[in-house]
């Protein structure tokens, strides 16, 4: 009798490895989760709806204040346009031209 079982393709072996590490990995392989993530590429800072709701609530309640270190805009704090780090164009010439 043959010693080896059915030879698993390297790809299937890799798939088994991945599923072992991430058992809840999406049912649809390579499906809409990837694609939607791809379409949404780009740092989204806030939802204007959330922002306006928060501003309205601020009138009645105390919202958590921004962390002392204002460079990070994350978590519970609703970012405001003033908090956003300014993206400036590159003023330095490309090193390829140097």
């Amino acid at each position: 009798q043959e010693m080896e079982d059915k030879v698993t393709s390297p790809e299937k072996a890799e798939e088994a490895k991945l599923k072992a590490r991430y058992p809840h990995l999406g049912q649809k392989p390579g499906g809409s989760d990837f694609l939607r993530k791809r379409l949404q590429k780009g740092q989204k800072y806030f939802d204007s709806g959330d922002y306006n709701m928060a501003k309205a609530k601020m009138k009645n309640k105390q919202l958590p204040t921004a962390a002392p270190d204002k460079t990070e805009v994350t978590g519970d704090h609703i970012p405001t346009p003033q908090d956003l780090p300014q993206r400036k164009p590159s003023l330095v010439a490309s090193k390829l031209a140097g």
């Binding site: 390579g30 740092q43 090193k95």
Partner: protein
């Protein structure tokens, strides 16, 4: 493999030049994002993540010193795109240059299209080597003269000056893409061009910026039903009515603009049948086409997916006519390549001028060439260690598993941060431009 001989009619590739900083600490802005020769090959443009374009010009051949063809020196550099903020969607728009495409030269100036995720710009690059001198009302330094001191009149004349190369934006094609632009392609009519994002393709006239025609729209009515996106698009080099676009599912659709205004129904669908028993979680991801390029002849097109390069005959839709494995040894590393996101890397590919050899990049700063006639292939490395001009590059070999021979590199030693995603081949000569993360290498074949 065969020592000494190069792939591609036994071309022997030699290092010619390298551009960019030596230091290992790479600033994000310096990451090269596109490389493109112009139609004559005299100019070579690069775009980077910082939105800058650098154009190199080949110096005129020195007839006496014919060791090599002319070197490429900086001709012009400018800031093409700047970071923007879309306030409506609170999204940052990157200034990274996704693609540069040259227009064929019509007059003394050069024109190119450059695009980031959202906006395409037409740039005019012109030379100024004369300036007017001898004004009546102005001094040479520009200060105005007191008119009462002018006693004679003279006619200003043009005098030679040091060459100045100026880049100016002539057209801005904005606000036509909801999703991220991945391709631009100039039509063979030299009047129109297409721009493609994840879900739509638009047709523009080079003179008209306030209007664009949508020619492909694959956005489903319900986004939950989204199954594939457009990954690349290109116009046919000769037929002005024909273009192709590739998808994340490994298909290529050829469309004829004469058939209808909206080319949602393809004229041809190119797809290689898949063996369902081989299907895995990774199948669709690695089948996603990252680049599609027509041959110069227009008879064939080449596609690049994660592990291979395929050549398709436009007359045969059901399978490619040639398939070349770029780095098949990665198939048994897909799990880790998925975890470190490398599996989503988008490699480009290119043809040589005679369509006999194709080239594409890989990891560890390796790049590969496949000779379609001899069926030989070669792996070379873009590295500063090989930078003695006119020294023939040594072929590299990756050892998939088991016993590693001397001079071979094992798969586990490959540096996956050193990716060659962008390469370009001079349209007429054996000169290639290979971009590592932040350096541009130029290689030439050995001229005896």
């Amino acid at each position: 493999l065969f020592p000494g001989a190069g792939g591609g009619n036994d071309i022997q590739w030699c290092f010619s030049q390298v551009k960019g900083a030596v230091d290992d600490d790479v600033a994000e802005a310096d990451i090269i994002s596109t490389v493109e020769f112009n139609h004559s090959g005299e100019l070579l443009a690069t775009g980077d993540k910082g939105g800058r374009v650098v154009i190199f010009q080949q110096e005129q051949e020195n007839k006496i010193q014919s060791h090599s063809r002319g070197e490429y020196n900086v001709y012009s550099t400018f800031q093409s795109h700047e970071p923007e903020f879309d306030y409506l969607k609170s999204l940052e728009i990157e200034e990274k240059i996704n693609k540069i495409r040259w227009l064929p030269q019509k007059n003394a100036a050069q024109f190119l299209l450059s695009t980031n995720d959202k906006t395409i710009k037409l740039w005019k690059i012109s030379e100024r080597d004369k300036r007017p001198e001898g004004y009546n009302l102005k001094e040479e330094d520009g200060r105005y003269r007191d008119p009462t001191t002018v006693t004679t009149l003279r006619v200003p004349v043009f005098r030679p000056m040091d060459l100045m190369v100026e880049a100016s934006p002539r057209r801005i094609f904005a606000n036509a893409h909801t999703y991220h632009i991945n391709s631009i392609s100039i039509n063979s009519d030299y009047e129109t061009y297409l721009s493609a994002d994840d879900l739509r393709i638009n047709l523009w006239h080079l003179e008209i910026t306030d209007r664009s025609f949508n020619i492909v729209d694959i956005k489903p009515a319900n986004m939950e039903e989204l199954t594939e996106v457009i990954t690349a698009a290109e116009f046919h080099p000769n037929s002005c009515n024909t273009f192709v676009y590739s998808s994340s599912k490994g298909t290529i659709r050829l469309c004829d603009m004469r058939a209808s205004a909206l080319c949602d129904r393809h004229s041809k669908l190119f797809e290689e049948p898949e063996d369902p028993s081989n299907r895995s979680f990774f199948s669709e991801i690695i089948s996603s086409i990252s680049d599609v390029k027509f041959s110069h002849s227009g008879r064939y097109m080449m596609t690049r997916d994660y592990l291979s390069v395929k050549i398709w005959d436009l007359n045969m839709e059901n399978r490619p006519v040639e398939t070349y494995q770029v780095h098949e040894y990665l198939r048994s590393k897909l799990c880790s390549l998925y975890e470190n996101d490398c599996i989503f890397d988008k490699f480009e590919c290119c043809w040589n001028g005679s369509d006999s050899v194709v080239m594409t990049g890989s990891y560890n700063n390796f790049f590969r060439m496949f000779d379609r006639n001899t069926k030989r292939d070669i792996t070379l490395e873009a590295s500063r260690e090989n930078n003695k001009p006119r020294t023939v590059l040594k072929p590299r070999k990756v050892c998939a598993s088991g016993k590693r021979k001397k001079d071979e590199i094992s798969v586990d030693s490959l540096d996956f941060n050193k990716k060659i995603l962008h390469t370009a081949w001079h349209p007429k000569e054996n000169i290639i431009a290979v971009a590592t993360t932040n350096n541009l290498y130029i290689f030439q074949d050995k001229v005896n």
